[in-house]
Homo-oligomer: 316 residues x 2
C-alpha cells in the first residue's frame, strides 16, 4: 500500500465532488439570494457514531443527512456545504474514495454544492459538515399555541432497534431486521416535506437527539404542555420488542438518530398538510396536541404519564 499524502486526498475529494476549487483558495466565497444566512454544523466521530457494518460511504452520507435534517425541520433548503475530514495516517485509498463517494452521493441527493473543505490527520475518522442556506426566517422551536396539533414525520423506534441489532448482534424477523438496520445506515430526512409546508408550522424541531428530548425542548421553549395521545410506532416494532424483551417506549422516545421531525400546526391547516404529505409520499402521524401547562405527558388509559427528556447525550 502506498502511503497517501494530503494532496492525494485532496485530489480524490476534488475529483469525486466535481469541484476543482476544493482547497484552492484561502477562503470560500458564495452568494446567497436572500437576506439571512442559515448555517448548521454536525460532526460524525468514528468511535461514537459509526456502528459495525456501516460503510464509510454511508457514514459520509449520514454526516450530511444530520445537517439536512435540521434544515428540513426549519423549512430551509441547504444550498452549499463545507466538509472537514480527519483520517488516520494509515488509511487506504479505497476508504478515502468510499468516503468521498458518500459525500458526492448525498450532495447530489439533496442538491448541495460543496464549496471546499479541510483535510487533517487524526487518531480516528471524523467528518465535520457545515451546510448553508438562506431565508428570511426559520420555523422556530418555540411558537406552538394552545390547541395546535402535534405531528411527526415517519414512525419511530426503528433506528433504536436497528442500532441494538448492529451493536449487540441481536436478531429478529428478517424483514424487520433489514428495515431497522437500513434506518440506521441510510436515514432519509423529509427535506421536501419541510420546505413545502414551512408556512403551516407554528413550531418544529429535528428529532435526531431522541423524541423525548425534542418534545420536551419544544414544550419548554413554547412554555406549553404537550399531550401525546397517539401511538408513534408500527405493529412490527411491537412484535420485535416483545420478542427481544425491549421496552417499546425506550425504542420510540429515547433512541434518537431518526432524522425525522416534530411539528405543530393550527388545526385549520390539517387537511392541507395531510394532502401535501400524501403528494410527497412522506408518512406523517398526528400524535397529540398542545395545551396550557408545561412538560410532556403520554395519555394512556385516561391517565397522564410524564415523559422525561432521556434522549441521546454525548458523554453519558
Amino acid at each position: 500500500m502506498t502511503k497517501l499524502d494530503e494532496s492525494d486526498i485532496i485530489k480524490i475529494f476534488q475529483k469525486k465532488l466535481g469541484n476543482k476549487n476544493f482547497v484552492s483558495e484561502d477562503v470560500e466565497i458564495f452568494k446567497l439570494s436572500k437576506s439571512k444566512v442559515i448555517a448548521k454544523t454536525d460532526t460524525l466521530v468514528e468511535s461514537t457514531d459509526i456502528p459495525p457494518k456501516m460503510k464509510l460511504s454511508d457514514a459520509a452520507r449520514k454526516s450530511i443527512v444530520a445537517c439536512v435534517s435540521d434544515f428540513a425541520a426549519k423549512g430551509i433548503r441547504p444550498q452549499y456545504g463545507i466538509i472537514s475530514v480527519n483520517f488516520p495516517s494509515d488509511i487506504s485509498r479505497s476508504k478515502i474514495e468510499d468516503a468521498a463517494n458518500g459525500f458526492r452521493k448525498a450532495c447530489k441527493e439533496f442538491g448541495i454544492s460543496i464549496l471546499g473543505g479541510d483535510t487533517n490527520e487524526g487518531r480516528e475518522i471524523v467528518f465535520n459538515v457545515c451546510l448553508f442556506g438562506s431565508s428570511d426566517g426559520i420555523i422556530p422551536r418555540r411558537g406552538s399555541k394552545n390547541k395546535d396539533l402535534i405531528f411527526t414525520t415517519g414512525p419511530f423506534g426503528y433506528t433504536a432497534a436497528g442500532l441494538d441489532i448492529l451493536l449487540h448482534k441481536k436478531s429478529g424477523k428478517r424483514d424487520f431486521v433489514k428495515k431497522a438496520v437500513q434506518s440506521v445506515l441510510h436515514p432519509k430526512p423529509p427535506m421536501s416535506f419541510g420546505i413545502r409546508n414551512k408556512r403551516y408550522f407554528s413550531s418544529a424541531m429535528d428529532s435526531s437527539d431522541g423524541l423525548s428530548t425534542t418534545l420536551n425542548e419544544m414544550a419548554k421553549q413554547s412554555k406549553k404542555k404537550f399531550v401525546i395521545t397517539n401511538s408513534l410506532h408500527k405493529k412490527d416494532l411491537e412484535t420485535h420488542a416483545k420478542m427481544q424483551k425491549l421496552n417499546i417506549d425506550n425504542l420510540v422516545f429515547h433512541g434518537g438518530e431518526e432524522y425525522e421531525f416534530v411539528f405543530t400546526i393550527n388545526p385549520k391547516h390539517k387537511q392541507t398538510v395531510l394532502k401535501n404529505a400524501r403528494l410527497l409520499k412522506t408518512p406523517i402521524i398526528e400524535i397529540g396536541y398542545v395545551t396550557a401547562g408545561k412538560g410532556v405527558v403520554l395519555q394512556r388509559n385516561n391517565k397522564e404519564i410524564i415523559l422525561k427528556d432521556a434522549g441521546w447525550k454525548h458523554f453519558r
Copy 2:
C-alpha cells in the same frame, strides 16, 4: 472527579462565550450586510497540532487564529463563527473551561460573535472552527502582474525553530527561545493590516502551510515567476540555526504555521503600503518581484536557486 455530560459542556461554552443560543436552535441564523458570504473552516487535532506545553486555551485560540489568518490574507473581517469540539469522555471540567476561555479570548481579540456549535465525544481533542464574513470580493491567490513587488508580513522561521524546541526539547539563547516558543503558542495574524490594504494587493495568500508552498501556489495560479531577492529572517534566527545545526532555509521556507501572509503589489502602491504598515505597527518585508516565467527562485550571488514546494502536508 464528576463525569460531565454533554449539557454540562454546553453550559460551560454558553457561559464563557456569552451566548445563550449556543445549541438552542436546530440551525444558526445570521445576517451579513454585503452581497457575498465568505467562509473558512479549520481543524485543530490534538495528536497532530497540539505540541507539548501548549495549554488548551492557547490551542482553542489558535484554532480561531488559523481561520482569521486566511481572512486577513483575503482582506476580509470575520464576523461570526461556529465551533465544533470533540472531547474524550474522561476530560476534566477545568480543561473544558480552559478551552472555552481560549475561544472567548480569541473572539474578543478579533471581534467575532459565536453563533453556536456542536459538542461531541471522541478519542482525542478536536477543535473545528468555521468563520464567516461578507464582502463583494476577495484578494485572489492569482492576480500578480509582471514587475509587481512581493512582500510578506512578519519575519519567518521562528515558528519552525519554536516547534523544534517544543517537540525535541532543544535549547537556545533565552530570549530567542521565548520568542520562538511564543510564535508557536500565541501567533498574531495581521488582520487589520490585511483589511486596511486590501485595495492595493494584486494577489495574496496565507502562509500557514509553509512559505515555499505559498510562494509556489501564488506563482502557479498567476502563471508567473516569483524571484526572491531578499532575506526573510532576522539575525537571531541565523545565530540559533548555527548553534543548533539547523538549515536556515528549512526554518524559513518549509516550516509553516506562521499565520503571516504573502502579497504582491504594483510598485506605485509601495509607499502607501509601507506607511500603513508603520501606522499599524505590522512588520512587512519586501522580498522580491514578479516576472514572466514560472516557479519560484531564490536569487543568491547572481545565481538562481529553484525553491520547491516543501511546506507542511498532513500524512507526510
